[in-house]
């Protein structure tokens, strides 16, 4: 599949098909991480983060890719890995390839949000993702999760969201 096709898939919300194609670059990233005092699992993690950045980037407006996806992904992954290494060992600095800006890991706020979401039960997460990410209708969700009505499902959704919020704002415990 050509790069343009993959990018258009990623943009159109048909991420899955595109993403599967991109996994062929995973080996290269893993090899790089392994060669730079990391493990294979580190490599997989970094690769997934790089994919995350790529999809996010594709979905912003006016996005054009100056290099090939391969180069881009590898560059971002290298960048992410050297950032992580820098945190561990400050003396290790990597040069950035051209056309690739600095990629930090998620900010504090983002990290706190993700942490809060991970504290939820898996079912809660599934429900929230189904609604806010996959964009399923409440009726479909009710059916999938076995609720009697969209109303019950919606109620549960807000309960889950409220719980997540309570993890982010532990001081404000409103009833």
């Amino acid at each position: 599949m050509k790069d343009e096709k993959i990018i258009s898939l990623l943009r159109k919300g048909q991420e899955s098909t595109g993403l599967v194609q991109l996994y062929r670059y995973e080996g290269k990233v893993c090899a790089h991480v392994k060669a730079n005092s990391g493990t294979k699992d580190d490599g997989k993690e970094i690769f997934q983060e790089a994919l995350f950045h790529l999809v996010k980037k594709c979905q912003t407006e006016n996005f054009t890719l100056s290099s090939s996806i391969d180069t881009y992904l590898f560059g971002v992954a290298k960048n992410l890995w050297s950032n992580r290494l820098r945190k561990k060992k400050p003396e290790l600095m990597g040069d950035l390839p051209e056309g690739i800006e600095e990629h930090g890991e998620e900010g504090d706020r983002g990290a706190a949000i993700q942490k809060a979401l991970l504290k939820l039960t898996e079912k809660c997460r599934e429900l929230l993702v189904a609604f806010y990410f996959d964009g399923f209708k409440m009726e479909e969700i009710a059916k999938d999760f076995g609720f009697s009505s969209a109303k019950s499902a919606k109620n549960q959704k807000y309960k889950c969201l409220e719980k997540a919020r309570s993890y982010v704002l532990p001081q404000s415990k409103q009833s």
Binding site: L19, Y23, Q48, F52, L117, T121, L127, V129, F145, K159
Partner: protein
């Protein structure tokens, strides 16, 4: 929805830009004036972004897994070049050799790379063998028969090939009528007595447990059919039941969903099973008619058969399994103009035709069947010829046809009446959550897993089904549970039991004698527990009713005593006042003489002195009376008593003891002080009594000169000292009345506390009741939603 959740919905609308201009303006104004709301909106926005990121991450991970799978399948296809069927194989050669036994000859499957292990068994007791491949063989002492007699001292020949490399080394095939099988291993098992092959006692079968890295669904046991060249064809598949996971029954959780959490919220120790039990078992549902308890539901074989065949449920579900596994990749049951759509195929072709086509299409074409040939010509170029599925056996092929007959539409009844009402009685759970049910299917993780759904079916029959058919495999009971629960209202529960059925969990052997004994035990125990719970609750309610009546009587008695005391005091005081006034005014006492004339007087004068004295006494007001230049005065002066330590007391009473009257007068509280207007004609003492728990505090004032104000501190005393004080300072009547008054007050405080406690207890019991007997309380939809919501916490 709670207001807070509604607010979150508002915020969602705001963030989605779905508010109209008016709403938007109002909401924005609210946000800018309310920093808490602003924070909430921002957090919700960040959370929504976070959820999207999370979703993307999950998608990325999924894509990774998909990629791996793709890579794997590609590898496999290159390696084998043929399709692989997900069916297991087990070789059981013994049966095929039965006819040859008489001639003492057996086909020798021993060859290089696949040799037998030999074991000598004395068979004096049950034997458990572990072979080199870690196959565990459990052999009952009466497992082997020769000429219908149980034999001892047998020789056992066993060989196995479990891993792919062993199978290849042993030169075995994994083919079933030309189709490849995925194997969980192959073994051969033969027992000999003096060189003769023995048969296995069908009453005491040998159980083999074959190790595997991963339990796969849909595995079957095949028999090996060996031809003269030594090639093995695998035939007659029998689906394997998946084993149950036994557990110590007391370590399992048989409580209703959410019960432990709710009980903990109500202050019960969630780690103390004794307490949780005693609370749980104290509930019962009254709607249940006791006849049901008298005649527990036992499903006979007939009903089992009925349920399984008439409903065609098993066939349908089995057919569905095969259709999904074998057919769905090419065929569809929906009408989408697909070439190979099988919608309504049973209307186009006869059952017999379908059967032989599914079994072996190429044979059908060869035999010259017109329709088969036409089909082949039409689709050969595009789809090729379908493979034959004869190896599945008649039953499975029939089940596929059964599935086709329904076009994949579930045959389960949809609008059955639901047998709601009480649901599962705690007494029934108490009966089975008992060591007596150890080593039955009740004492398994699987039963524990089904129990929440049994509770939520609101149908005790479902519980009875499992409890009273212990000898059946779990999947059979699951399938009946499914028919019992598949209705308009409880279809979600039915769906769950269908999923349980599809797990095809086996059973745990229980002798019919043990089952009878357990049924007997259940019947007695459940009934006894039900009655005990009912009796206990009734006793509590009876006791409360008794206490209520007692309290009402006590209040009445006290009110009567108060009335008498006040009346008598008033009468005495009035007499005293009147006598005083008359004396001072020089009015002689009228001696009642009969007969007399009655006259009406309209002018004021001495005649209505009585009335004036009455009013003065009634209103406790100082009044001066004059008649013929003489005056008389009745004085009422206030006395106030303040107790410095009153706030420490549970209750306080301040009594004025009038020497000349019938009994005490109550000093009434006004603001912080106790007040009473003392009559100048009467000598009073004051006794103040306070109670703090059982401790009594007293203060006594022997002489009062009204008007007066006292401030004093109650001093610690005792009941005995109080009585003594009253004895030496008041009249007998006063002593008796004060003690009665104090007793009543003590009783009232206790009684109110009791009522409050009972009300609180009832409220708490009700909150647990809603969880223990939800079917009695809620409608079915609500019950199901509660269970589902419980999974989110």
């Amino acid at each position: 929805m709670r207001p807070e959740l509604e607010l979150m919905e508002q915020i969602d609308l705001f963030l989605d830009g779905k508010m109209n201009a008016e709403e938007l303006e109002a909401f924005e104004a609210k946000i800018s004036s309310d920093p808490i709301l602003k924070n909430k909106v921002e957090t919700q926005r960040d959370l929504r972004e976070g959820i999207k990121d999370l979703g993307l991450k999950l998608k990325i991970q999924n894509a990774g897994r998909k990629f791996k799978k793709l890579k794997l399948t590609k590898g496999l296809l290159i390696g084998l070049g043929v399709a692989v069927l997900l069916v297991g194989t087990f070789l059981l050669v013994r049966k095929l050799w039965k006819e040859e036994v008489t001639e003492h000859t057996i086909v020798n499957t021993d060859r290089e790379g696949w040799e037998s292990e030999a074991y000598s068994l004395s068979m004096q007791t049950d034997t458990i063998l572990i072979t080199e491949d870690k196959v565990v063989i459990s052999i009952p002492d009466d497992a082997f028969l020769l000429d219908g007699e149980v034999v001892k001292d047998v020789e056992l020949a066993f060989k196995s090939a479990l891993k792919p490399e062993d199978i290849i080394k042993a030169g075995l095939s994994t083919a079933s009528n030309g189709a490849l099988l995925e194997t969980g291993g192959m073994f051969e098992f033969n027992a000999f007595k003096d060189g003769r092959l023995v048969t296995i006692n069908p009453e005491s079968p040998v159980v083999l447990s074959v190790p595997t890295d991963e339990l796969k669904a849909g595995m079957s046991l095949y028999e090996g059919d060996i031809d003269s060249t030594g090639f093995v064809n695998w035939v007659n598949p029998v689906p394997l039941d998946n084993p149950l996971t036994p557990a110590d029954i007391l370590s399992l959780d048989f409580y209703p969903p959410n019960y432990v959490k709710t009980a903990a919220n109500e202050g019960y120790d969630p780690t103390d099973k004794k307490i949780l039990d005693s609370v749980f078992y104290s509930y019962y549902c009254e709607n249940s008619n006791s006849e049901e308890l008298d005649n527990p539901m036992i499903i006979g074989d007939e009903e089992l058969e009925d349920s399984l065949t008439n409903e065609n449920l098993t066939q349908y579900v089995t057919g569905q399994m095969h259709f999904r596994g074998q057919c769905e990749s090419c065929h569809s049951l929906r009408d989408r103009n697909s070439d190979l759509s099988l919608k309504n195929v049973v209307e186009r072709r006869s059952e017999a035709w379908l059967k032989s086509w599914i079994s072996n299409p190429s044979a059908m074409i060869e035999s010259g069947d017109d329709e088969a040939k036409k089909l082949y010509e039409r689709f050969r170029a595009k789809h090729g010829l379908m493979q034959g599925y004869g190896y599945l056996g008649d039953y499975n092929i029939n089940s596929i046809i059964e599935y086709l007959r329904h076009n994949g539409q579930s045959p389960f009844p949809k609008e059955d009446e639901v047998n709601a009402g009480c649901g599962v009685q705690p007494a029934s759970i108490e009966a089975i959550w008992n060591k007596k049910y150890q080593k039955t299917l009740i004492a398994t993780k699987e039963f524990e897993e089904r129990l929440p759904w049994i509770y939520n079916s609101c149908n005790e029959e479902v519980l009875m089904l499992y409890v009273q058919n212990l000898n059946e495999p779990m999947w059979k009971l699951d399938s009946i549970a499914c028919t019992l629960t598949y209705s308009e209202e409880t279809w979600r529960i039915g769906k769950r039991f269908k999923a349980f059925y599809e797990q095809r969990k086996g059973g745990i052997a229980v002798s019919s004698r043990a089952q009878r004994k357990l049924n007997n035990f259940f019947e007695k125990s459940a009934k006894a527990q039900f009655l005990a719970a009912m009796k206990a609750i009734k006793a509590v309610l009876d006791e409360q009713a008794r206490l209520y009546e007692e309290s009402a009587n006590r209040h009445l008695e006290h009110a009567e005593a108060e009335y008498t005391r006040e009346e008598k005091n008033f009468q005495a005081e009035y007499d005293l006042n009147l006598e005083h006034v008359k004396k001072e005014l020089g009015i002689p006492d009228v001696v009642p003489v009969s007969p007399r004339y009655t006259v009406t007087v309209t002018s004021n004068g001495a005649k209505n002195i009585d009335q004036q004295v009455f009013e003065s006494t009634e209103n406790r007001e100082t009044t001066t009376f004059s008649l013929n230049g003489r005056t008389a005065t009745i004085t009422y002066e206030p006395v106030k008593v303040t107790l410095s330590n009153e706030s420490e007391m549970d209750f306080v009473r301040v009594y004025a003891l009038p020497k000349e009257l019938y009994s005490f007068e109550r000093m009434k509280k006004k603001g912080t002080a106790y007040e009473y207007k003392f009559n100048g004609l009467i000598d009073y003492e004051i006794v103040a009594v306070g109670y703090k728990g059982d401790e009594v505090y007293v203060y006594h004032i022997g002489k009062v000169d009204p008007p007066a104000e006292f401030v004093f501190t109650l001093e610690k005393s005792s009941e005995k000292a109080l009585k003594k004080l009253l004895k030496s300072n008041g009249t007998k009547q006063e002593r008796r009345d004060i003690i009665e008054d104090l007793d009543f007050e003590k009783f009232k405080i206790k009684d109110e506390r009791r009522r409050r406690d009972f009300a609180a207890r009832e409220r708490s019991r009700w909150r647990i009741h809603e969880v223990v007997l939800p079917c009695e309380v809620m409608n079915m939809e609500e019950v199901a939603d509660t269970v589902i919501s419980a999974g989110f916490n």
